[in-house]
């Protein structure tokens, strides 16, 4: 090993990383080099704290390391530690180095209200991007020695950490082992998103339903942990991913339990009906208008026919056009700045509600069907789940256009069969308990 390998390596690294600062310093009579990324560390405060925690007498390099709780690392790992926001202290000759915790720069968001899952009358602290804060939030919500936290470093992605959280008494050991094993398997893609995480966990990217149920509410996570599931908290993600997901996650939230039991049942029934409406209503419209008008009462069939009198194309095209427009409105309003949001909803509302009908491009009824479908879609719990249903309704619309009512229900039966066949880690997705 070269005498000053740590120092020269760092200096070479600093050439292309100008926020990496290496400065000479004298600590209690010992000349040292202090290195750290100024983008991640508050240098002045860190130095102040270091000096405060040292004894007043002169110290050797080893004594410095001991009194600062430093961890000696080889030259090869030094840069990685610095990138995690640690501070390095190098000996005067640059041959040895230890790292220690530093005062981090203000890069973290404070714990805040949930952004996606607004809930009524329940504790509402939500996860943030920092992993330690999130684990802390969980520990605060669920005070129990039973709560296990394991950090798993994902292979193939630079120092991305995932916290595996579960209850020892509830989670089946084989489930925890299976998930731990899959997480530590080498991944083809760097795991930066849920998509990569899903393909790591299940080996496929083509499932329509996710094995993860994402929530930003610690209270929800603790409820799921009590049901024997495992929560994955990924560094840099402000949601916890609960796995394996289940059909319950489409309809139920823990916060429902803050209401009296009958009301909770009623709320959940609304969500189940919402799922059926969101999935079936556009298809039902196409089936009733285009293929099976005779199943309706004659008065109703006639009034429907009247409303479509001037519409120049078949019901299938009509509803597909309008469904696409509403998808675009939803998609656009997701990412719009708050100041422009109302504009798009107003324009969208006018286009969809009034102008299109007055121009006789679509019938009145389509607007009603569309509104009901869109609203009912968002009664479902979880944005991912709503997205699945949003996507699947198109296949049912197509089947309805071909086979009418029979196609509609063939689609529903197929959907139920598909959902029933899903298993995560050998546990069926379709289970109520």
């Amino acid at each position: 090993m070269r005498a000053n390998s740590c120092l020269t390596d760092l200096q070479q690294a600093a050439a292309s990383r100008e926020d990496l600062k290496i400065k000479p310093f004298v600590l209690r009579g010992t000349p040292v080099w202090i290195a750290g990324l100024e983008s991640l560390i508050q240098h002045a405060r860190t130095r102040y704290e270091i000096l405060g925690s040292l004894p007043e007498t002169p110290c050797s390099f080893e004594e410095l390391a001991a009194s600062l709780f430093g961890e000696f690392v080889p030259s090869s790992e030094l840069l990685g530690k610095l990138l995690q926001g640690k501070l390095a202290v190098l000996s005067g000759d640059g041959a040895r180095a230890f790292v220690l915790e530093s005062e981090p720069a203000e890069l973290k968001r404070a714990v805040d209200l949930p952004k996606e899952e607004t809930i009524v009358g329940a504790p509402s602290a939500a996860f943030v991007e920092d992993l330690n804060t999130n684990v802390g939030l969980l520990r605060r919500t669920f005070v129990s020695a039973d709560l296990q936290v394991e950090y798993v470093s994902l292979r193939g992605s630079a120092d991305k950490r995932i916290a595996l959280v579960y209850l020892r008494s509830e989670a089946p050991p084989q489930l925890v082992n299976e998930i731990r094993g899959r997480l530590s398997a080498p991944s083809r893609h760097p795991v930066r998103s849920d998509q990569a995480l899903i393909s790591l966990l299940t080996g496929t990217r083509w499932q329509l339903i996710s094995p993860l149920y994402n929530t930003e509410l610690p209270e929800q996570v603790s409820d799921e942990l009590l049901r024997g599931r495992v929560a994955l908290l990924m560094e840099g993600q402000c949601t916890a991913a609960i796995t394996p997901s289940s059909i319950r996650n489409f309809f139920t939230m823990f916060s429902d339990k803050h209401f009296p039991y009958p009301l909770m049942l009623a709320i959940r029934a609304v969500r189940i009906i919402g799922l059926l409406v969101a999935l079936l209503l556009p298809g039902l419209y196409v089936a009733l208008i285009a293929v099976n008008p005779e199943t309706l009462k004659i008065e109703l069939a006639l009034s429907l026919a009247m409303s479509r009198l001037d519409v120049p194309y078949p019901a299938f095209i009509e509803i597909i056009i309008m469904l696409f427009i509403i998808e675009m409105v939803v998609e656009a309003s997701l990412r719009l700045p708050k100041s422009i949001g109302p504009t798009i909803t107003m324009v969208g509302g006018i286009i969809l509600g009034q102008a299109v009908v007055q121009a006789q491009l679509v019938s009145n009824l389509v607007i009603i069907v569309l509104a009901a479908t869109t609203i009912s879609n968002f009664t479902l719990v979880g944005f991912h789940n709503a997205l699945t249903i949003r996507f699947l309704k198109y296949s049912i619309v197509c089947l309805s256009a071909m086979y009418g009512i029979m196609g509609l229900f063939a689609g529903l039966i197929g959907f139920i069969l598909y959902v029933s066949s899903i298993r995560w880690y050998g546990i069926p997705f379709m289970r109520l308990r």
Binding site: E170, A171, P172, G228, V291, N292, E294, T295, L296, K297, I298, L300, L399, M402, Y403, G404, I405, M406, G407, F409, A410, I413, G414, I416, L417, Y418, V419, S420, S421, P428, M430, R431, R433
Partner: protein, 359 residues
């Protein structure tokens, strides 16, 4: 966290497979066996089913976790083929009949202009999809179907009582028992066959014979009710003429407050769910049995081949009359499947349990 697996899916599955037949082909099949007092053949069917079910369950209970294939394959090449081939053929025939009759019903009800191949393609794809998903998935899906469609079906059925005239029940007694001498009685015996699927259930979950029998009680009651609904509405002579007595009965109901013109709609979609469960499970059973007998044949290609066979066969059947003729031709196969298979299961069960008792 490991809990005992619930038996509810299995019981609901037994209800589901029976429902698919009871409210679909049962009434017509039983009505054509005699001129009046139809409860007599119905009760005889129930007794036959109860007896065969008893044999089957008595056999299965002695060797928990074993299905038809597991029981018969150790008998050797020839014997296992002799027992399993008719069973597979019978499963295929029942799926064919159910599928083809349902296509006929849908054509009458919903899509008169759609070509038969398109209808059969949809049904076959649906059944094949279900079979690919596997037996336990079908069982789970059936729980959802039961929750969604059983209430709808019961609503549609109860609405029929609006037009019922209970005088049509008479005469109650037919002392000649002429149905026993009629070929129709034996060709209609497929209505008791759904109990055979129970023989494929042990690999999916534990069976409790008493639970299965208790599940059958409401099913048998439903059989009697289902049979009498068309009679109560139309009278025996008229009901006997109808190909789909249920459909006609439902068509006769008009509910003012309903958005839809006919309650038939609800009837047909509910039947579709249970028919799919039944046929998918039969296809899956075929795949399972063939795979166990010939381990080199993977399940999915066998299921796909069976589905293609169903499709082609279904297309070759020109119409309803031909379907009825087919019922006559396969009477022997049916008697073999309904009587011989349960007896063979009991025999195997007795032998295996005795062998285990005396090591």
């Amino acid at each position: 966290m490991q809990r005992n697996p619930s038996r509810l899916p299995i019981y609901l599955f037994i209800v589901g497979t029976h429902t698919g037949l009871i409210f679909f082909l049962y009434a017509h099949a039983t009505l054509r066996t005699t001129a009046y007092a139809h409860w007599q053949p119905a009760v005889v069917y129930i007794c036959i089913e109860a007896l065969c079910l008893f044999l089957l369950l008595a056999g299965l209970a002695r060797v928990p976790g074993k299905d038809f294939a597991d029981l018969f394959i150790p008998l050797g090449k020839v014997a296992s083929l002799l027992l399993l081939t008719p069973l597979v053929a019978y499963f295929l025939l029942v799926s064919l009949m159910v599928m083809r009759s349902f296509a006929e019903l849908v054509r009458i009800m919903f899509v008169a202009n759609t070509p038969m191949w398109a209808l059969l393609a949809l049904l076959v794809l649906l059944f094949m999809f279900g079979a690919f998903m596997g037996g336990d998935s079908i069982l789970r899906a059936n729980v959802v179907f039961s929750a969604l469609f059983l209430p709808v079906l019961l609503f549609a059925l109860s609405s029929c009582f609006k037009n019922a005239d209970f005088h049509y029940l008479y005469p109650l007694w037919n002392s000649s028992f002429d149905f026993l001498r009629k070929e129709e009685f034996y060709s209609s015996m497929f209505v008791v066959s759904p109990f055979l699927v129970i023989g494929m259930l042990p690999s999916l979950g534990p069976l409790r014979p008493r639970g299965v029998f208790l599940t059958m009680l409401p099913i048998w009651a439903l059989c009697l009710i289902a049979l009498h609904i068309p009679i109560l509405v139309f009278g025996t002579p008229a009901a006997r003429l109808l190909v789909f007595p249920f459909l006609a009965t439902m068509d006769s109901v008009s509910l003012l407050w309903l958005v839809f013109d006919r309650v038939t709609l609800f009837y047909a979609v509910s039947i579709m769910a249970f028919v799919s469960v039944h046929a998918s499970f039969l296809l899956w059973s075929i795949g399972r049995i063939v795979h166990k007998r010939f381990p080199k044949c993977p399940e999915k290609p066998v299921i796909a081949a069976a589905a293609v066979a169903l499709f082609v066969w279904g297309l070759m059947i020109p119409g309803w009359d031909w379907l009825q003729n087919m019922l006559f031709w396969e009477t022997w196969l049916r008697i073999l499947a309904v009587f011989v298979i349960p007896a063979a299961v009991l025999w195997r069960g007795l032998i295996l349990s005795r062998r285990r008792a005396a090591p």
